[in-house]
Amino acid sequence: MIAIGAATRPRLALPTARLARLHAAGRGIPRGLAMLVLCAVGLRIVLAWATPGSDGARPLPLLFEALAASVVGIVFRSPFGEVERVTGRWLPVLRFAAVPALTAAAFGALAAGSAGARLDLGYAGLARDLIGLVGLSLATATVIGALLCWLGPVAFWLVSLYAIGSHWTTPWVWTAHLPSDTGAWLCAVAVLVVGTILVATFGARDGLHE
């Protein structure tokens, strides 16, 4: 009888650049980045219409921020399903790393799109609103499904319209506050943290009659 020693598990190495690249390709991140560029172009166009002080100055750019946040959430959809979930030990790390990278890309694209025009709340407002919306998009992607994660940011955008018009004071609708409002910042960051933890841990769900 041959005694077989305990199989030694291969030591986990940090994900290589190749793994990260494959993960990005599997998630369709390049196409997502192209969509972010499209968002930037859309933002540039509406900023030409919605001049500061006009009725659309706040809601229209915010709509494109919601779209960019939705794009970030959608690229977390896995085309591989259970096979990847079972075998991909580095998935949480990859997903965790993808969130700040994609959020930064979205901010960069929108900031570039608004260059030369005037955002109603400036880049600080853009960063805060986008951070919160991305968190909401990721949370929705985890709970409902990645392909329907746009429902979260769009619903929040609609609530924001009323919050801005009715001067709501709750910091949880951070879009209705000035960028100098610390409470609104904290809420937006908290939503991003929750969304990131959810999507990194569980991944985006394939939900609602996928």
Binding site: L67, I74, W157, L158
Partner: protein
Amino acid sequence: MSAVGPAVPTGWRLRAWSRSAAGRLMRLELHRSTMLLLLVPVALLLGFTELRNNLGQAPLWGARSIVVQRSMELVGGIVAGVAAWTAARDRRRHITELLATTARPAWVRQIAAWAAVAVWSLLLYGAYVAVVFVVTARQATWGSPNWWPAAVGATAVVACSAVGFAFGALIPGRFTAPLVTIGALLAPQIGTLALQRNQQWGRISPVEDPGTSGTGVFVPYHAGLSIVQLIFLVGVILAALGALAIPPRAGGRGVHRAGVVAVAVGVAFAATGLALAGTARQTAQGIVIPAFHTAADDRPIAYTPVCDSNATVPICLHPAYRAVLPSVVNAIDPVLAEVAGLPGTPTRVTLAPTTVVGLKGGDLRVSGNPPVFYLSPGLFVLQPGTTFASALDPQIQQLRQDAADAVIAKVIGQTGSDGTMTSNAVAVQTAIAAGIRQVVGLPAFPAADATNARSAPGQQGSPPSPAVGAAATRFAALSSSARHAWLVANVAAVRAGQLTLADIP
């Protein structure tokens, strides 16, 4: 021997089977529609935002009916995205080829899937309209619902679902649904932006309405623009659904041909709507489309006034404003009680006939024989998004002062306006007017400038002279009956300028 039943025509059987199969397909689609799962969240969102906003307005049928139309923006945006998501369902599930083997053309299946989204969306929008109208029916004191804006809103929701579905089917992709949603939320704004550049075709946007100040209360709702919007939206629906039938995979030659015809008819309808919207004219009664407008449509709305007969004289308002009648009575009645029975005292307070000028201005006047106190309808015109309290309370506060000035001037004479009067006679009229103002809680001597004229009731302005101020205070200090009796006995002398300040008790 076998019993043979009555022969059933083959055509009838086929039709019955078709109806039954179509019904089953529709039931299946209704059951598995994503919109069904989203009904409750979207209804909550609608209730949290649009419904709260709409019901926060004054309970006037005119205002609330119109806002119902604008609410389509929220429902339409989400419905468009869900329709796009639904259209890509077969592709997402990799069952396109499997379904290609079924007896029905792909177009029929797509229409069934779209119809399910449209039905649930209409149900949601209909429930929203029903809530608004039921609540308004319980609160409003006059009028009835205007169904035109609701019809435009419902058709716009269906159009959003059709366009969203067409995009989802023709350009499937992960990002199609959010792109379509954003597009559907932005599309109505294009009309608004066009209007800012004086392009009348922008009125085709379903968030635009033909109403103006006083629509549905004093002036009629002109349905021309609603008809034009409906023509346009029906065209959009036809074109979108027709486009689904054009790709070869949608079905056979017949389906393709039907699609081309539907697109052509839809484009023609939409173009007609746009062209008609381009002829829109802004009038004092709102937006009119000449092709759907006649001079008879401009007649103001007839109404039976609602009156408070317990006041010194009957005070009457438009029945839609029954809720504010007590406030108006409180504002006007004290001064009427002071001068009751004197020559020139109004025998009735009522709204002036509705005119374009009357709707814009807030004037009031005492005229006629017997004298009637006319309030301008413009005093009661509400801006969109305002309540009775927020819009009318300041107006009624101002009315208290303006009504006192108008009535006092009519009864005791226009102080200082008659060049033939001596300064002493003017002083007497001024003192008596100041005394009455004090009694009814107004500044005795309102300042000449507009800012001070709106000073708080009871606040004293500067008297023209100490003697006039003292006489006014003396007169105000009299008992109500003594003051009234003195006025009855001496009003003719006051008007004629025959008294001095010393004659005022």
